[in-house]
Amino acid sequence: MARPKPKEVVQDDRQELFDDEFLKKLEYLHIVSRKAFAGRLRAERRTKKVGSGIEFADHRKYTMGDDFRYIDWNVYGRIDKLLLRLFEEEEDLHIYILLDASRSMRIGSPLKLHYAMQVCAALTYIGLGNLDRVGIVPFSDQLHEPLPPARGKRRIFSVLEFLRGVEVGGLTRLGECMDAFVHRYKRRGLAVLISDFYDPRGFEEGLNELRYNKFEPFVLQVFDQKEASPALHGDLTLVDCETGEAKEVTVSRALLDAYKREHEKYMDELNQYCTRRAIPYFRTDTRVAFDELVLRIFRQGGFLR
């Protein structure tokens, strides 16, 4: 096996990535999101945390030291048991957008990375617009310099500037990166994972890290049509863009078909894994406009509730 390539800062042209047209689309998406969730209170995304909100959540037995004010006297009158009324605590939701910045994201037309950044920016803007705290954590084989969680729409420009400067390179190591992530960020929240999920060690470990540490994973798989169905034929040397590993193959139609099936199968495995574990999963081709994808996310739910 060839030695992995060192991480490098790849200078690709991102200046045009977030132009006026893009910003208009963001604003449009924000309005759509407001309409879709009209009537909701600001920043009233319910967390699983039970606390001092006004929305009833559950009962639990009274124990010494509990606040008397929350004893449900009606229940005591009916069943003669002291139960405490629990309310869902209302607080700012933390949204972490984990952006895959490995070398494999630099493939495709448009680059998967650019596409992912646009989606990332859109989701961030919507999150900020809903007064959530949104942070961006790029990663590859390790966590890159993050954008700390912040709130407020005006932060969008610093988000875009941050995305323009994201370093790209290195292998995809979901497991290690998610492990580092959960240990670094103690405030739980929504973890939107935007990646191609091309990790030779598999995607399960990374997603499980998030799940086991009380984060709510939200999976967004990005792929390029040419990598799903490459137009290859003849004798070739295939070089892995991350590991540099070379393999000489003679690509026939049958082999190409087998590859397409394998690629489809790999994506289905991720889909099934997420479905079984109630993880919102979206798969998108880079040919689909990013705003279309975001609208699809609105329709299916999971990002905004």
């Binding site: 290859l232 034929h233 070089v239 892995d240």
Partner: protein, 663 residues
Amino acid sequence: MSFLLPIPLATLGWVAAIAGGLTVTAYILKMRRRRFEVPFSTLWHRVLREKEATSLWKRLKRWLSLLLALLMLGLLLFAALEPELGEQDDDAQNVVILLDASASMKAVDEGEDGKASRMDAAVEIVDDILGSLGGGDAAMVMRMDGQTTPLTRFESDMPKLVRLVRQVQPSDTPADLRRALSAAADALRDRKNPHIILVGDGAYDEEALNAVVWKKAPENRLDAIDLGGIDLRYVPVGSTGENVGIVAFNARRYATDKTSYEVYIEVQNFGKKAARRKLVLYNGDVATDVRTLELKPGEKLRQIYSRGGGEDSVLRASLEIETKGDGAAKDKRDAFALDDEAWALLPARRKQKVLLVTRDNLFLEAAMLVYDNVEVDKLLPEEFDQAVAKGTLPEYSAVVLDEHAPANLPPPPTGLIYFHPSGDHAPFKVRSEVVNPHITDVNEEHPVMRWISMGDTHFDKTDVFEVDSGKGQVVLASSVRNPIIAAMRTKERKIVACGFSVGGTDFVLRVGFPLLLVNAFDWFAADEADLMTTYATGTRVRVPMDGVVGAREADVISPTGRISRAPVADGFATFYASEVGVHRLAAKEGDKVIAEVKLAANLSSPTESDIAPSTELRAGGEVLKTPDAFTASHRRSIWIYLLLAVVLLLCVEWVTFNRRVTV
């Protein structure tokens, strides 16, 4: 199935081995692959792992591809053998047609009006013969004149042969039947049912016909033409034998009086009727003599003309038909016009101016007096040097330098004769000096030493030259490997040098001494008494190119302007005249002509001029019959089908390769 085997089997074997090896090597060597970057090679590994299970089939497909390539190669090589179907037919013939294209075939006596040439008639006959051959027969047509030229190898494609035969033109050379029969017999060696069909007018050398043997020739008969087992047939052409021709024509200068020359003409009537001809002798374009000749049947007349004067010119003799009545004939030429004209060259004749540079040497001056073709001037060495330095020296053909080797020489091409040259400017480096030498070797082939004997000549002493043959220097006389007299031909001039002093030898008292001077003057002027300038067509001769050095080839410009090449070796050009008329041989260095010789070529062949057709020809004691009709045979060449199969396989290979079936 049979094979024509146009390529020897051994050669084909080598080609097969090399081509097969290259094909296999090409399959073994991996092609340089394109690099393609993929984002996730793990997926490819998974796919390829599955494919590993079917790798045996994959390898087999590779083998199939190789086998396909080898099959194509095999088919190509097989096609190269020219396999043919149907030759099992034992009646299939192998025929060599000897088409007479010699000079006599130019005779015009064929056709209904007698206006067609014998060549036209012969071509028609050959067309018929080729048309009567069966599909299984193979024929080769050989053109026969002074040389024998096969037009093709053995062919079954008769239309192709007919096309080639129709392009044959007769030449001006006599037929060499011996060479033609030998070549035909060699071509038919080991072939089934061999035939030779000779189509011509029968004007052939009797000796060649008598040399034919029908059984294995005895070992002591090296001249025999072995036609054992070969069926030789003859188809005659021609109808008339009436012809008067010039069979000899030449001109030469008198050796004693080179200002005069004589011309020799020999005219013969080959017909059975008396003939009357007007013989006109031209010098250039000017008729210098006209005679009327009355020739009885078979009579040969010899005419000798003595002429005075005459410079370098072309002589032409012409025979014209003359009738007794009004003296004007409708056609001036008879049926065979080629021998009605002949050419000869009169070599150049120039008075030479010679300068003698000496201090009153009586022997030298006296020797000059014997040759009336020279005008002699005399200068003292100091006067000579001054004149050369001032550039006031008149132009001389030759300068004789007695005991003087000056630094400045007259401009070329003035020839130089040195006696006892010494110092830095001697033409040859002096190696040593010998006392009382005896001449042991004389180069009699050199024109300067012609007719000179030096066997009992005495010298008190003489210088010995160092002679380098690579620089065009040649030893003329030597005393036990010590060159005493030497000659040199540079690109510009000719030089003769004698190592001895005129006063120190008794050679000056002998006949050889003035002869040496005369020969040297003649050599300088390229005036060689022995030079023949008239040759018969169809013969190969060595012609001296005036001692030319360095040239390896000479351009031969024929009378019709055709330019060919003649090899030159040791100053001689090998010349073959195929046309009647005046030829020009020019040896060049770059674009500059360094030596030029004119030669005349005439038919000069009584055998060819005797155009009476031989209706019956005897070879090896047997009368040659006309050919029988050929029985039909069938044969089909299949190389084209093999080639088509290769193309088809190539398409299959291309399609399967591109569709990734055989990769």
